[in-house]
């Protein structure tokens, strides 16, 4: 029997809320799935849609974006910009055929260590159900392979 599929998930989080929430999950010794790799940014406003595409290109099966709750942004409204950008980007994703379910968007505050752990577990399970993102990864391989005529 083959080994169960372990999804690779890349998370883009802001340092003030979600990164601190992830640290809190650690100091509280909560256990969660080891499938997520976190990239720390000052604010969700810093997250470019290109980062998400790049992570998918590098082999991620799912993406998590998480920052401060609306109204709580350390930089007053970076997370609103992120949310607005996500709304537009989501439409683009749908248009280009990338399933939206592979990209999760959430708010986690510095006090929500438990919510962070739960989210990581649930997103890991969701992506596991969707299976590896072969469709996109194969496309990348094909475009990068030397043209043979």
């Amino acid at each position: 029997m083959s080994e169960p599929f372990e999804p690779k998930i890349t998370a883009f989080v802001c340092t003030y809320c979600t990164y601190a929430g992830a640290d809190l999950a650690g100091t509280s010794r909560l256990k969660y799935a080891p499938n997520v790799r976190i990239i720390r940014l000052p604010c969700t406003g810093r997250i470019s849609p290109m980062f998400i595409l790049k992570a998918l290109q590098k082999g991620a099966d799912g993406i998590l974006i998480s920052g401060c709750h609306p109204g709580d942004c350390h930089f007053t409204h970076g997370n609103y910009h992120a949310r607005r950008r996500w709304m537009v980007f989501r439409a683009l994703l749908a248009f280009t055929g990338i399933p939206e379910e592979r990209i999760k968007y959430s708010w986690i505050s510095a006090a929500e260590g438990l919510k962070f752990a739960d989210l990581i577990n649930s997103i890991t399970e969701d992506i596991r159900k969707l299976g590896p993102f072969d469709q996109y990864h194969k496309l990348i391989e094909e475009t990068q392979a030397p043209a043979s005529l």
Partner: protein, 656 residues
């Protein structure tokens, strides 16, 4: 070619027991660009830091990755060590393999795999790090203290006594806060007013303190050392500069039956009022919602009475802009509304009161002149039942936390009651007696042994009225028996909760708060008086339930932090700011729209003859806070964020 040093910390067993550090070190040692990869038990220790410095010097390292705890813990430590070894501190990054790896995973192999990914990704980032220089910003040496209770007053006095300017803002008409409402204080039983009012007067008369009462914070902009604060000075309808506080208007005001906030609804006040007799400043305000003139357009008795023509019904709220260097938040708490305990009959029976209402009954300046009388009929109660943890430590109906002061004040109430009503019986239902503090346990023992407070360990299930008595049914868990007590008065030790508008306020000034609405400290143990926002400090019960000594201690601690900030000519700030490439900038102004701080200005580029060539965006390094929202907006990839550049983040992603 990069020469990166990778330093893998075991953190004792914390990382070492879960992550195979030897495999981690050897894998990273083979990674391109890594010149040295070593592991050690505690890199944060002195010899640990020395070995980092030695490795930098020996290998001429161009970058450092410390794989250890969260950067929130030791980033500063290792950046300092790098600087001491001659490496630009911003060439050092932390790979978080403790909080976000070893502590949260069960499987050793998977944790090690994850740790390798984390460190590799960080190595790829550091390869693209740049030397950065800290930014210097000026400091406005004027502090703002928000809240005029004991914590705010203490912080203001400490800062002012050190010779720095303070603006003290209080939203009520008078200074004093909750402490002014108290009767006597534990564990010394000294009169609260007697120790509080002199401090209020001292703060009001201090040449370095500017007092703004009946004022609220509208907005806070700027950053550490350079805040711009807008304050709303609410209309008092009484001219502050001419009023002498003679009180004629108060005696003549015909609306006399307004429930007094200061007396917690037990006493009454007039429409033009000062909250209490010793108010500072002793200048009344008109309560617009209760004033006959404001309601019906007739009355103006106060105008006729005032010998100095101080009353002005046309007065409007005023706004004032303040330049502030540091802020102390001391906005305090409120007592929980116990209406959710229908079984205790609070709100239904007049003689079921809160602890704070009992304080007003027991206070010599209170509505009964210090006599303990039932609110319903004014009789002296012969039996009083106190219910502790009415809201605290009750996840189902109240709050999960312990309010910390209730055990002590209930013991005090029982003592005050015994001193004031001879022969009166007090019964106290408690869960635990938490009397940790100097002289505290002795105090509760005294209540039991000398003043015959009857402690019953158990909860109360029901309070009902029967033949003029409040029947209290509870359980004595030490005897294992239900008990019923016929009481004349029931006092609930209500939980201390955050101010109702605490979360809104936190958003206004830009600090964090917890699930209950108490403000978050930067670190629970090591930075307990700093908020997560630089330059904003916390004092008193706005952070968590506290008694007076703790509030005062924290206020003084905040003041010392403010003074340390003011001791410098200039502040050094992290150089994580946006930088624009003017040669590629097209002047679309997307970044200007995006910037939350108005830190991006339009700059004219001229040729030698002074002719305008083009206009580009220019970042003001003093205002930029480094969120990077502009970077993502930039269509021509001209703006980038130092420390989190596009190149660095792409490299991190590709390194995974």
């Amino acid at each position: 070619m990069s020469k990166i040093g990778v330093f893998i910390c075991h953190c004792g067993e914390n990382i070492g027991a879960k992550v195979d550090c030897t495999r981690l070190a050897s894998t990273l040692g083979d990674h391109p660009g890594v010149a040295s990869s070593i592991e050690y038990k505690y890199f944060c220790s002195d010899p640990g830091q020395e070995s980092v410095k030695k490795a930098i010097r020996d290998n001429n390292l161009t970058g450092v990755v410390v794989a250890a705890c969260s950067p929130r813990m030791h980033e500063a430590t290792f950046r300092k060590a790098c600087a001491e070894a001659g490496l630009n501190p911003y060439m050092c990054e932390i790979a978080n393999i403790r909080e976000q790896c070893s502590w949260v995973h069960n499987d050793n192999d998977k944790a090690t795999d994850k740790a390798i990914d984390i460190v590799r990704s960080m190595v790829e980032k550091v390869k693209r790090n740049n030397n950065l220089q800290p930014i210097e910003v000026p400091v406005t040496r004027r502090a703002l203290v928000i809240g005029g209770g004991i914590a705010g007053i203490q912080a203001a006095l400490d800062i002012a006594n050190a010779g720095q300017e303070v603006v003290l803002v209080e939203r009520e008409p008078s200074l004093g806060g909750h402490m002014a409402q108290l009767s006597e204080t534990f564990p010394t039983l000294d009169c609260s007013q007697c120790i509080m009012t002199p401090r209020m007067v001292e703060a009001a008369q201090h040449p370095k303190i500017r007092l703004l009462t009946y004022a609220e914070i509208e907005s806070v902009d700027g950053y550490i050392g350079n805040f711009q604060v807008k304050v709303r000075l609410k209309a008092r309808y009484v001219n502050k500069s001419t009023c002498t506080g003679c009180g004629e208007c108060i005696t003549k005001c015909p609306s006399k039956k307004i429930s007094s906030e200061f007396d917690c609804g037990i006493g009454k006040r007039t429409a033009i009022y000062t909250p209490f007799a010793q108010a500072v400043p002793n200048i009344p305000v008109i309560d617009k919602n209760s004033c006959t003139y404001f309601k019906n357009g007739k009355c103006k008795i106060c105008v006729k009475t005032c010998p100095l023509d101080c009353i002005d019904f046309e007065m409007q709220d005023e706004f004032e802009d303040l330049e502030i260097g540091a802020i102390v938040v001391a906005t305090g708490f409120q007592v929980q509304n116990n209406a959710m305990y229908g079984e205790y009959g609070f709100g239904k029976y007049q003689d079921v009161i809160t602890g704070l209402q009992f304080e007003r009954l027991a206070s010599a300046s209170g509505p009964t002149g210090g006599k303990v009388q039932r609110p319903s009929d004014g009789k002296e109660p012969e039996t009083v039942v106190f219910i502790q943890c009415a809201g605290s430590r009750d996840p189902s109906k109240g709050v999960k936390y312990c309010s910390k002061i209730c055990c002590m004040y209930t013991a005090k109430h029982a003592m005050l009651y015994a001193h004031k009503v001879h022969g009166g019986k007090s019964k106290i239902f408690y869960m635990d007696i938490r009397a940790a503090g100097k002289g505290y346990d002795e105090f509760t023992r005294r209540a039991i042994e000398e003043d015959e407070a009857g402690y019953l360990r158990g909860r109360v299930s029901k309070v009902w009225l029967e033949n003029g008595k409040l029947m209290v049914r509870g359980v004595d868990t030490l005897l294992g028996k239900p008990v019923e007590i016929a009481a004349d008065m029931v006092v609930l030790a209500t939980a201390m909760v955050a101010q109702p508008d605490a979360k809104e306020f936190a958003k206004t000034i830009g600090i964090g708060y917890d699930e209950y609405g108490f403000f978050n400290e930067a670190h629970l143990k090591l930075r307990p008086v700093e908020s997560s926002t630089a330059g904003i400090f916390l004092a008193g019960a706005c952070q968590s339930p506290k008694d007076i000594p703790d509030s005062v201690a924290q206020a003084s601690a905040s003041a010392s932090k403010v003074l340390a900030l003011f001791s410098k000519e200039k502040l050094e700030r992290e150089p994580v700011i946006a930088v624009n490439n003017e040669s590629t900038c097209a002047g679309c102004w997307g970044c200007v729209l995006a910037c939350p701080y108005g830190a991006i200005e339009k700059k004219d580029i001229m040729d030698r003859s002074g002719k305008l060539i083009k206009r580009v965006a220019s970042v003001n390094p003093g205002l930029c806070q480094g969120c990077g929202t502009c970077v993502t907006f930039c269509r021509s990839n001209s703006i980038d964020l130092a420390g989190f550049t596009e190149k660095q983040i792409f490299a991190e992603v590709m390194g995974l």
